[in-house]
């Protein structure tokens, strides 16, 4: 199977078929930190990925893509009062 990883984008080949949760374990990825995408569908950790399949493991963590202080931003709480501009 082909496993596509993102940020940065790269591909990993894995021989044979196995369950999603085993793929994640082998790649040392915590299950709730990625969407597991096959074709245009999401699949759960118990699903079996076949040898001919291509899956994408898309990270769900955001940092810096937010418009307001928050993910990926310096440790500033949303400021209305004391640290006004």
């Amino acid at each position: 199977m082909k496993v596509i990883l993102r940020n940065p984008r790269r591909e990993v080949e894995m021989p044979g078929e196995r369950r999603v949760k085993d793929v994640l374990r082998e790649l040392d990825i915590l299950p709730e930190t990625v969407l597991v995408i096959r074709g245009d569908e999401l699949i759960t950790p118990d699903q079996v990925v076949r040898d001919a399949d291509i899956i994408e493991l898309r990270p769900v963590m955001s940092g810096g893509s937010q418009i307001a202080p928050g993910a990926g931003h310096p440790p500033t709480a949303p400021a209305l009062r004391p640290s006004l501009p």
């Binding site: 299950p31 930190t33 418009i67 993910a71 009062r81 004391p82 501009p85």
Partner: protein, 300 residues
Amino acid sequence: MKCRKCGGTAVLELRRHNAAFCAPDFLDFFRNQVREAIRKHRMLEPEEQVLVAVSGGKDSLALWDVLIDEGYRTTGLYLDLGIFDYSVDSRRKCETFAARRNVPLIVASVAEEVGAPVPVIKNVTRRPPCSGCGLSKRYLMNRVALDHGLGVVATGHNLDDEAATLFGSITHWQTDALARQSPALPSTHAKLARRVKPLYRLSELETSAYAFLRRIDYIVEECPFAKGATSIAHKEILNRMEDASPGAKHNFLFGFLEKARAAFERAEAVPLRECVRCGQVTTGTVCAFCKLADQVKRTL
């Protein structure tokens, strides 16, 4: 895995809810969580006009999508930070979304407002890029809302963002920040818009799944300056806790909001004034945004 609601094939497992859902039932679950957030914190009036701060990422576009479907009259605000390809691509995602859903989008440019884009501000000020960037965002969000007569700004902060912010504030015992951390911040001055975070009950996994299942074309890449941010380190720690004990993040954040936050609230008698230059609210004479713009202009 079977959907908890209908028994069909599940597309997503949510361990902290000890459940799995099919796509339609997950979308229902998601919308219900947003409704609950809005109701509980009285974030928005029915059909209220809302400025939605969008970055092109999954959270803010998911937020915009769900608010449109819930019947709010929304206007998007995209702030062009001038951060290389990242800004070009993320702006395009927002424009595409706005055109597809037929909703208005305002674009404001940091380069025009401050005099230089974020990477140049970083060099001029010799401070981390997020410092000038965050300041500009906070300022412009509020000013654009006022200019357009909108009383409330909604942002896409999710449960993980909020838990990571809380974790950061606690590790440094920033008691002021703890007092301010809330899913809804009221207006404390006629020139300050309310700020609400309708996604605070939903994890990053859930906002990503929503965006994916709704076929929202969002930017997966990160801002190049996000790398190494402390909040990402905090998120990683929290993810390990969550993996060992599902629900840990939820309990951490919600326990704080329900039981601890009030203890940090003080009658803050910080007098608010209007900046003598731009008229926006500040605690000083000239606001930090005007000072930043001055510094940029002097240097370039």
